[in-house]
């Protein structure tokens, strides 16, 4: 078990900057998700921590060892790859045993540890089979078992569920969480899927363009996004950003008005689709419905407030259809106020 310190890691490829001075601390036993769109640098950061890529500058410290210059095998970590990288020419048993064999562990210990890891991931029946005979989900389990068999201080996972179909992904997600909570392994988990990050992680670091936009607990990231990017990337449908004029510390639009921070002439009102009440006849924003999508648990409305496109999650029985105009009442305490120029949240 070990914590991880990422200290001002920079990575450039020629003229392109993949990571600009990333600093990050992960506590012992913590589950951290690196969340971001493709090309944001999250996989590069993971590969630098693994030692598969060399940073341009900065340090990686695992436990109290500076591993910045060490090859992957000396860093005391295990990794699960996006395409599993389960060795096709070895049985499941040999795959899971691989790390232990490299450590020259005795045969009895190998057998015991492989069986333990196999039991955790429910792959005991397949130990003598070759990976080609397994389904994607089973191969995924083998890859995780191989990583857990060495009882790593740190576990790195690179989009481990992205090659699975939706149902299997959901199943593996909750199972993975259980297994990792049990083992207490410090885990860094790279994903572009915000539900995965929300569901699994103790903390999420949202990355964008080679920097960490925000880091915090999933609920915190969801409710109080630090930037417009985070609000738009986390949550599905994404957060709405409604531009409002400000006068004397009050933002006002249509029949809606609220106190707001900042001193600009305009402000962005960040509000989640589920945080707006339909208030027929009351004071609020006049919302013209353009598309209504019944999603089962909610009725997703897309439409316009003045000329700004927003989405609202209404109750499934709201009985609204395209062309209707209703009044929306945003829940004031759920609003995140952002600077329209910088896209950063303003302190309330």
């Amino acid at each position: 078990m070990a914590g991880i310190l990422i200290d001002r890691i920079r990575k450039t490829f020629g003229a392109a900057t993949a990571l600009s001075e990333i600093s990050l601390e992960i506590a012992d036993g913590e589950f951290l998700a690196l969340l971001g769109p493709s090309g944001c640098g999250k996989t590069t950061l993971l590969r630098i921590i693994a030692g598969l890529e060399t940073q341009t500058s900065g340090r990686v410290v695992i436990g109290d060892r500076d591993v910045s210059a060490l090859p992957p095998k000396d860093r005391g970590l295990a990794m699960v790859f996006q395409n599993y990288a389960v060795f096709p020419h070895m049985t499941v048993f040999e795959n899971v045993a691989f790390g232990l064999r490299m450590q020259k562990v005795d045969e009895a210990t190998i057998k015991r540890e492989v069986e333990r890891a196999a039991a955790l991931l429910h792959i005991e029946p397949y130990l003598e089979r070759y990976p080609a005979k397994l389904s994607g989900g089973q191969r995924q389990r083998v890859a995780v078992a191989r990583a857990l068999a060495v009882r790593p201080a740190v576990l790195l996972m690179d989009e481990p569920l992205s090659n699975l179909d939706a149902l299997l992904r959901l199943e593996m997600r909750s199972e993975l969480k259980g297994v990792l909570q049990q083992s207490g392994t410090t885990t860094i988990y790279v994903t572009h899927d915000q539900t995965e990050a929300m569901g699994l992680a103790d903390r999420i670091a949202v990355m964008h363009g080679g920097v960490i936009e925000q880091i915090g607990a999933p609920q915190m990231i969801y409710e109080r996004p630090a930037t417009k990017f985070v609000g738009g990337f986390v949550g599905s449908p994404p957060m709405n950003f409604i531009r409002m004029p400000v006068e004397a510390g009050r933002a006002a639009l249509d029949g809606f008005a609220a106190h707001c921070p900042g001193s600009g002439r305009d402000i962005l009102c960040g509000i989640r689709p589920e945080d707006m009440r339909l208030a027929p006849g009351g004071d609020g924003l006049a919302f013209r419905v353009m598309v209504a999508e019944p999603l089962g648990s909610t009725l997703l409305l897309t439409g316009k407030v003045q000329d700004q496109l927003i989405r609202v999650a209404a109750r499934p029985d709201a009985g609204l259809k395209a062309g209707d105009t209703i009044t929306l009442e945003p829940e004031t305490r759920r609003i995140v106020w952002l600077d329209p120029e910088t896209g950063r949240a303003l302190g309330a």
Binding site: P72, K73, P88, H89, G99, V150
Partner: protein, 282 residues
């Protein structure tokens, strides 16, 4: 409907007819010539072949050449392919230069090495200039069988390693890099990764390269002929001599059949020894 079903057969027909005429027919004829004498079935040509003074020698020489050249070529090609993988820039250029000998005919390759190794060749000129020899030394005469053999081995390696290299490079590119990365993360050293991951996954390519190279090596002729004439008798050389100098196509055909049987046996051996179970492939 009928047209589109026939089309594939029509398209392969020319090559099938071509090979049928120029491969199967001569093959059958060769078998007939080898096994008949004065109008009846007979093993007389084979007896004559086996009783010849050069037979045992050419058989031994051919096997010796194969046994020395093939492992060297496989080892070299593997090393070259591994080095190529590590190059970040100029990989295509290096590969291109390494494969130039593929474009040279084997007789021409033999002549190139003859120009280097003969008594007034480049090697002797260089050695003389360095003061290492007093005058022309004949490395390729039958009094110097060791240097003649080394010369032939060198020429064969220079000429034919590239084909092994090309097959292995293609094989390397089929192995996803994550396998090596995973092995690296789980503690394998470079050598272990090569032995435990790369080599097993390269087995199908190695098998193809070995079969192709070995079959061709048993047919070695032009390079040997250019460098040593009959000072180093080999099987195909004997077939050629029986055919051309002795005008005896019966014994020549017997040699041809023998070479074919040896090649087939080698191929079967490789297929058995390097069998890859389909479920263990990438």
């Amino acid at each position: 409907m009928t047209n589109s079903r026939l089309l594939p057969y029509l398209l392969v027909a020319p090559s099938v007819v071509f090979l049928g005429l120029l491969f199967v027919v001569p093959l059958v004829q060769t078998i007939v010539i080898a096994f008949t004498d004065q109008g009846g079935a007979s093993l007389a040509h084979f007896r004559k072949m086996a009783g010849d003074l050069n037979f045992g020698l050419s058989l031994r020489n051919t096997f010796l050449l194969v046994a020395v050249v093939i492992p060297l070529q496989i080892g070299l090609a593997l090393a070259m392919a591994v080095m190529l993988q590590k190059l970040e820039k100029g990989r295509d250029l290096v590969l291109w230069i390494w494969t130039i000998p593929l474009g040279v005919s084997d007789l021409a390759a033999g002549l190139v090495w003859l120009a280097i190794l003969q008594d007034r060749g480049y090697l002797n000129s260089a050695l003389f200039a360095l003061g290492l020899i007093d005058g022309p030394t004949n490395w390729l005469s039958y009094e110097n069988p060791t240097t003649l053999f080394i010369g032939i081995v060198l020429a064969e390696i220079w000429r034919a390693t590239a084909i092994v290299l090309v097959i292995l490079v293609a094989g390397f590119q089929l192995i996803p890099k994550e396998y090596n990365e995973a092995a690296e993360v789980f503690g394998a050293t470079g050598w272990t990764r090569f032995r435990k991951i790369t080599l097993p996954l390269l087995k199908p390519s190695l098998q193809s390269a070995l079969i192709l190279r070995t079959v061709l090596a048993f047919e070695v002729f032009a390079v040997v002929y250019a460098l040593g004439g009959r000072n180093y008798p080999v099987l195909v050389g004997e077939a050629y001599t029986w055919m051309r100098d002795s005008q005896n196509d019966g014994v020549a055909a017997a040699y041809a059949i023998l070479i074919m049987v040896i090649s087939l046996a080698a191929t079967l051996l490789y297929i058995r020894l390097l069998r890859t179970k389909p479920e263990t492939q990438a």
